[in-house]
């Protein structure tokens, strides 16, 4: 089983195909059929060493691009200071942010272009960050370590955010008030249990986390640990219903085979 992913660059439509299984295959139901192209690619990679090597090179290239995008912006930090370096990093990832004391957000447009006005705000720390849908990962947090006034962090749909990323969020424990983790396919309970450091957290969004099996139970346990935090996106009985249906189906099958 393989997943086919296209990366279309602006200008020429170049296909970067990969047959490697990313985390999102866990959420995919087995009934959806694979597209023909990936089935063909899988067949070829099983029979030809060249295709297999090309595919492993393409996944290596993908990892290299991720590392490059999340590298530490040391030159910017030396020249312009921590805040501008963090701002530049967020804009390069195609995310948005808001300086403290300012009311307008800095974002790149659809083509990825952004205005360079943010270099004028060297003394303003960043207060709100929205990196939804970007490829921010654990090493990229090195750029944001200096932002001790960070209040809002939105990580909606970030596919590279995993438990290790959440374990590093303790650096914002004095200031973080809102955290949005919905739709991150790699987060599981192991990372959520590291969120107890965030004592100032008031809003936490945990909707559609495919790797969390018992979202309702996790919500109850997190509310015990973070009493002032309001957790949204999860109902108390999520995960329970599935167990109930399993129990019913087990009971049915056992009576069927026993009788």
């Amino acid at each position: 089983m393989a997943l086919y992913r296209t990366v279309q660059l602006s200008g020429c439509a170049r296909m970067c195909v990969s047959v490697a299984r990313p985390y999102s295959t866990v959420a995919r139901s087995p009934s959806t059929p694979l597209p023909l192209r990936s089935k063909l690619l899988f067949f070829l990679s099983q029979h030809f060493y060249d295709v297999e090597q090309l595919l492993s090179w393409s996944s290596w290239l993908r990892n290299w691009t991720l590392r490059r995008k999340n590298t530490f912006y040391s030159y910017t930090q030396e020249q312009y200071g921590n805040n501008v370096a963090a701002a530049f990093y967020i804009l390069s990832l195609k995310g948005g942010f808001r300086f403290s004391g300012q009311s307008e957000w800095f974002r790149p447009n659809e083509k990825g272009k952004f205005s360079w006005d943010f270099v004028n705000f060297q003394e303003h720390p960043i207060e709100e960050v929205d990196v939804s849908g970007t490829v921010i990962n654990c090493t990229g947090l090195d750029n944001l370590v200096s932002q001790k006034n960070l209040r809002t962090l939105s990580l909606r749909g970030c596919r590279e955010v995993d438990d290790w990323f959440l374990s590093r969020l303790h650096i914002f424990q004095e200031s973080l008030e809102e955290l949005n983790l919905s739709g991150c396919p790699r987060i599981s309970v192991g990372g959520l249990c590291a969120l107890h450091h965030l004592r100032k957290l008031r809003k936490l969004d945990l909707s559609s986390l495919p790797r969390v099996q018992n979202p309702g139970l996790v919500r109850i346990l997190l509310e015990e640990v973070l009493p002032h935090c309001h957790i949204t996106g999860v109902e108390y009985d999520e995960g329970l219903q599935a167990f109930q249906e399993e129990k019913d189906s087990e009971a049915l099958s056992s009576t069927g085979t026993g009788a």
Binding site: A2, V19, A20, R21, P22, Y23, T25, F42, S45, Q46, E52, L55, S56, S59, N63, C138, D163, W164, L166, S167, R168, H170, S188, V189, G190, G191, L192, C193, A194, H196, H197, N214, L217, V218, L221, L222, E224, V225
Partner: protein
Amino acid sequence: MWRAWKGLTGTIPSLITGLNPSRLSLQPRVVRVVHKTRAYSSFFRELEAQLAAMRKHAVRAMPGSDWQPLEITPGLPPERADVVIVGGGVVGWSVAYWLKRKERIRDGVRVLVVEKDPTYSQASTVLSVGGIRQQFSLPENIHLSLASAEFLRSINEHLGVLNEDPVDLQFNHSGYLFIASEKGAGIMEENYRTQRYAGAKVTLLSPAQVKEKFPWLNTEGVALASYGLENEGWFDPWSLLNALRRKAISMGVYQCFGEVTGFRYSTHSMPTDDSHQMSFKRIRYVNVRMPNSLEYQPVECAIVVNAAGAHSGKVADLAGIGSGPKDTLAAVPVPVEPRKRYVYVLHCPDGPGLDTPFLIDYSGVYCRREGLGGNYIAGLSPEEEEEPDTRDLEVDYNFFQDRIWPLLAHRVPAFECTKVASAWAGYYDYNTFDQNCILGLHPLVNNMYFATGFSGHGLQQSPAAGRALAELILDGGFRTLDLSALGFERIFHQEPVLERSIV
């Protein structure tokens, strides 16, 4: 060519049915008495039967079927290998993986991993509690553990195999909480400085801060606490072992299930400065005995890596280490022996919640959360005098009642009403000399490397230790981490490199 032959043999029955339209080819063949006038059809029928039998034999002999003209024992190791790794636990497979990763040309190094037990029923790896921490007092240990955490963080980049599932370690990032009394507070502060200097993310907490963070903890007698913020927690050792194994096998490592029963080595002597004769050994063949059999295969090898865990001492004895004349270096054995440790699974519905760290009390008792259902894992390292018998892995539940439960209930009052759901026992590959790992070449056996004696830290140091040993073997020296303090020299010079915070 065979397909054409099969096709040809298939046409003959159709020819015969063509000749005898009354006979259906689907009917079972029955030998019938034939008239003389039908002698030719009987000849063809026998010919057909013989050809069908020949066709069956030919198909069985084709590659893809498991018939062989000479019976070969399945699972025999290859007759020669460059590196033979004795022991298929997480350290052994880590060494195998890193050897393959560092080889400069494809199939440059032929690596064979020999494991005694295919079910891993007594292996320390799978019976481990699975914690990883950086809170050590020896900088080498801290660096090993930090490098391993770095490896685990990007484990899919390292151990991802094309078209296979991504590796899921189920890593719980909960951190370790070490608690110190008045006596140990000074040592804890020194350790904290060492750890911060080495790059570990650790913080010191006062009793008031501990009480505020973890209200379920009884802070009586607590003078200082040390809490790990990042790269600490616990994970599933079986997933790591299987990930390493899968990736190593995909890179071409040979795996063999068998027991190493002996070495064939050659000895040569050299005189020292004061004209004593020192004899050095070089292992030529490793005898690998097949499971449940007396048959063994001598594997010709260049290098042997002893990663046999709790049984490393026995494997070293097979090479003749420690059996020299008294008061010489040749009489110093490898000081690794198995020590049994009990692990108890407790169920406590009102216990500490999701923020439970891996709690380690100054009395030695440890406890961590397991899953989300109110289960906990607890244990204690016994004193030297009350070390349990290592012949089997039977659990002594009285040990929990007498030793662990009072200390645990004192520290966490919620554990006063707890039930022991189950328990298991596993071996530590205990280094009786100084409880730190032994990584390096043996001075008297010129081609035997050791990666053993981790004394309970094998799992958390395995990726970095495997890389260190691969650097020793292929590069001739340590490249990324300098672990020369953990070699054999300290054992010969009787200078222990002690680790102060052992669990």
